[in-house]
């Protein structure tokens, strides 16, 4: 029975193409995500370059809008979601004491769909008529004016969806079926919990997105009129279906971040997480609420008053479970024996800046106020605060936190701290002024602007370039560890670290937990 005996990694490229190992696939996800970070980042740099001065300098408006669209699609589907899928692959089996993901071949299938889909998406830039320029929301009728690239965009969204759904199913089954026998659900680490809930959200909403883009497709090519009034349809219908996906999607992005932060803060506070169970219930409440608030993205589109009131009030409810989380993290640090290594610095920056982004979210939940903010740079400021120093900082914190476990080598602490301070300062230089220009009336997704916004835009562009360049330090730090430069990591790595993943050697062996471990 040679099939059941141990097998080490095959050598060379085969290992990465054909792997069924959760650690290899996790690495693939993370490396892919890092590549896409710089692809999407380059697009952001083009956006900031054009906005450095008023008037049109470098790109034409059509290309500018393709950049805003693809920057968003690449960052959401190509960077941040794969990053968290990579964390899930690496860490969930280690944290619950499972030998691997539940369905290892399906796992590799989920991964390899991604680069192919991303290739198809980015290749649209080189097609006649260029890439999609409608914004990542793909609203009709605007998106139907896309050139030859249109069906490629639709099918790449389908592929990304298939990849996410299959990965989510795998994660759910792994968590529900593969836990070591003495780990009941409420003893699971918070990262596992947040991913379990995220995975449920994914299988709930990704198929709906597939339905939405399928209707766009038939509207364009087969004469249906789902989104055309002349045939009895309504373009607003697309917005409803899209945001039924789109709002849970933002929690799909942020819940794993919550999970990572919930692992890091206790470690560097040397205290258990405050209110573990309430964190679980808060996460579940956020996930539930996220499914019933979608039309707060559409306050200006023309909705009955009852609808506006309902979506306003239900949206504000989200602040309650989110507040529970923020207070729990703060209480975890209270009277802890704190130390400030790079992961902790990023986690604390997350805590401040995500909360800040959350506050501007509550402002926009108010329908009458939102009508003023809508489609302005205030919105851009809001979602970049929750996504960049929110989700992305959490991902970076997680990388620094687990990199020693993955590679067996410590990252360079000084380099990490420089990376942190440059990122934390420049991210605020970039996005903080966007609140002001937004409130003063600067619209989003337009390459030119009125003269009074010139100074702040130049300022934001400089901040943006600095932020972009700072991430090269991150790349350098990660590559150093991967190439085996740096101090050897101990098994526990961090003094205050708790959990099964710290019981195995660093780097984690190719196969771990053939037999279920005992939870202390």
């Amino acid at each position: 029975m040679s099939d059941t005996t141990h097998h080490g990694p095959p050598t060379g490229i085969r290992r990465w193409l054909f792997t069924t190992n959760h650690k290899d696939i996790g690495t693939l996800y993370l490396v892919f995500s890092l590549v896409m970070l710089f692809v999407g980042g380059a697009m952001a740099m083009i956006i900031r370059l054009e906005l450095f001065q008023p008037g049109l300098q470098f790109v034409n408006p059509e290309f500018f809008n393709q950049m805003t669209t693809l920057h968003a699609l690449v960052m959401v589907f190509g960077m941040i979601m794969p990053a968290f899928a990579g964390f899930a692959n690496w860490m969930v089996p280690l944290m619950i004491g499972a030998p691997d993901m539940a369905l290892p071949r399906l796992n590799n299938f989920s991964f390899w769909i991604l680069p192919f889909a991303a290739l198809m998406l980015v290749s649209t830039l080189f097609m006649p008529g260029g890439g999609p320029a409608s914004g990542w929301t793909l609203y009709p009728p605007l998106v139907l004016q896309t050139g030859d690239a249109f069906p490629f965009v639709i099918f790449s969204v389908h592929l990304l969806g298939i990849s996410s759904i299959l990965a989510a199913i795998n994660i759910i089954v792994t968590i529900m079926n593969m836990r070591t026998p003495d780990m009941p659900l409420l003893k699971m680490p918070l990262f596992v919990w947040t991913w379990l809930i995220t995975a449920y959200l994914l299988i709930l909403v990704m198929p709906v997105l597939a339905g939405a883009v399928t209707m766009l497709f038939t509207d364009q090519f087969f004469g249906t009129s789902f989104f055309q009034a002349a045939g009895g349809g309504d373009p607003v219908l697309f917005q409803h279906i899209f945001w039924f996906f789109g709002h849970p999607e933002v929690y799909i992005i942020i819940l794993p971040s919550f999970g990572i932060i919930s692992q890091i803060i206790p470690t560097f506070s040397r205290k258990p997480l405050f209110g573990h169970d309430s964190m679980v219930y808060a996460t579940a409440s956020i996930a539930f609420l996220s499914c019933i608030v979608w039309a707060h993205h559409m306050f200006t589109v023309g909705m009955p008053l009852a609808g506006q009131l309902y979506f306003m009030l239900s949206t504000m409810l989200i602040a309650i479970p989110t507040g529970v989380k923020i207070f729990n993290w703060t209480a975890t640090m209270w009277r802890g024996s704190l130390s400030f290594e790079t992961p902790m610095l990023f986690a604390i920056a997350f805590l401040f800046l995500f909360t800040f982004g959350g506050f501007s979210g509550v402002m926009m939940a108010l329908t009458p106020a939102d009508i003023q903010y809508h489609d302005s740079y205030f919105i851009v400021a809001h979602f970049h605060y929750v996504l960049v120093p929110g989700a992305m900082f959490a991902a970076i914190a997680g990388v620094y936190y687990w990199l020693p476990k993955w590679t067996g080598h410590m990252y360079d602490e000084r380099l990490g701290k420089i990376h942190f301070w440059l990122s934390a300062i420049s991210v605020n230089l970039t996005f903080f002024p966007q609140h002001f220009v937004g409130l003063a009336g600067m619209p989003r997704r337009i390459p030119d602007y009125a003269l009074q916004f010139a100074d702040l835009n130049a300022f934001m562009s400089i901040g943006g370039f600095l932020f972009g360049l700072s991430q090269l330090l991150f790349l350098w730090g990660v590559v150093r560890c991967m190439r085996g430069i740096g101090d050897k990591a101990t098994d526990r790595v961090w003094e205050g670290a708790q959990g099964l993943e710290w019981e195995v050697p660093s780097p984690a062996p190719y196969h771990t937990f053939d037999t279920p471990p005992v939870v202390k």
Binding site: M1, D3, T4, P10, R14, R15, L17, F18, T20, P99, D100, A102, L103, R105, N107, N108, F109, W112, I113, F116, M120, D148, A149, F150, P151, F152, I154, F155, H158, I162, I165, A168, I169, I172, V173, N177, M178, P181, I203, M206, P207, V208, A210, G211, T214, M215, T218, T224, S225, F226, A229, A230, G231, G232, G233, D234, L237, I241, P304, T515
Partner: protein, 294 residues
């Protein structure tokens, strides 16, 4: 299961099928998009060729991949725990399919309850309707669109009712086959599984006939406004799922007849196919009620 000895969870060797399957999906998407956008030269169409290559590669992948799984299962490598993984995986996959259909049901409800009445001035849209579509009158089924396209409604009695009965009957015959496999009655299993597949094929044939009737006699087309759109996309995607489900059942049947696979105790492949079939059946019941009857 706390004190019993742990049965090892089977972690497979590296495999080429996942990446080949992903490549197949890419080729299908790329080929179909090239074809429909007419990006290639009219004298030498690459789109259909790429699409066909992708589809072929997908079929090869399915045979190779599932063949490997069946082989491993037959060799007894799979533990009860792995069996539970398969079961849970299939359940959540079916759930995601339900959500896919829900998007189209949602479109149907929205069009019917919101979009169409608003176009006729419901809510506070009176002046808009007066200016844009003064002739339009809201109704469901929407037989005359604001743009003036006319069609006839598909009645629920007749063919659709027969099709409903056929699908319901197929669920019953499948259940009989299920009981038979658990009791080890192979002859009855084969008979009723074959009947189920035949009923599925009959359904598909009648559905095709209904489409022809709709196009020729009723003028109910895919582009006949939102009534035709929801009608064809819902029944069309359902028909696609019946096709897939029938093919899965056929493969299961062939495995039973030719290779004598599955036992009374271990028959998850059969069960997964059965779940899928019942799911398709439930979707049809909703379709029958909301698309045809109401």
């Amino acid at each position: 299961m706390t004190t019993t000895t742990h049965q090892k969870y089977y972690v497979p060797h590296d495999s080429a099928w996942p990446i080949v399957g992903a490549l197949a999906l890419l080729l299908i998407g790329y080929g179909a998009a090239t074809w429909i956008s007419q990006l290639d030269q009219p004298e030498a169409r690459r789109g259909p060729v790429i699409l066909a290559a992708g589809a072929l590669l997908l079929v090869v992948t399915l045979f190779g991949w599932f063949g490997k799984v069946i082989d491993e299962s037959q060799r007894g490598l799979y533990s009860d725990q792995l069996d539970r993984s398969f079961r849970q995986c299939m359940s959540w996959f079916i759930f995601s399919e339900v959500m896919f259909f829900l998007a189209f049901f949602g479109a149907l409800f929205y069009a019917r309850v919101v979009a169409v009445p608003w176009l006729d001035g419901a809510g506070n849209n009176e002046m808009t309707a007066e200016i844009l579509w003064p002739q339009f009158e809201a109704a469901w089924p929407l037989l005359k669109t604001p743009g003036g396209t006319e069609t006839q409604a598909m009645p629920w009695s007749g063919l659709p009712l027969w099709n409903t009965l056929i699908l319901l009957a197929s669920s019953v015959t499948l259940q009989v086959a299920h009981v038979a496999i658990e009791r080890g009655n192979r002859a009855r299993l084969k008979l009723f599984l074959a009947i189920t597949v035949l009923l599925g094929a009959t359904f598909l044939f009648l559905q095709g006939y209904e489409y022809m009737h709709a196009y020729r006699d009723l003028g109910l087309r895919l582009d006949s406004g939102v009534y035709g759109n929801t009608f064809y996309l819902l029944t069309g995607f359902h028909g696609l799922h019946v096709t897939i489900g029938a093919l899965i059942l056929l493969v299961v049947l062939l495995r039973i007849v030719i290779k004598d696979h599955f036992t009374a105790e271990r028959h998850f492949g059969f069960q997964a196919a059965a779940w899928y079939w019942h799911f398709v059946d439930v979707v049809w019941l909703n379709l029958f009620i909301f698309v045809y009857v109401l």
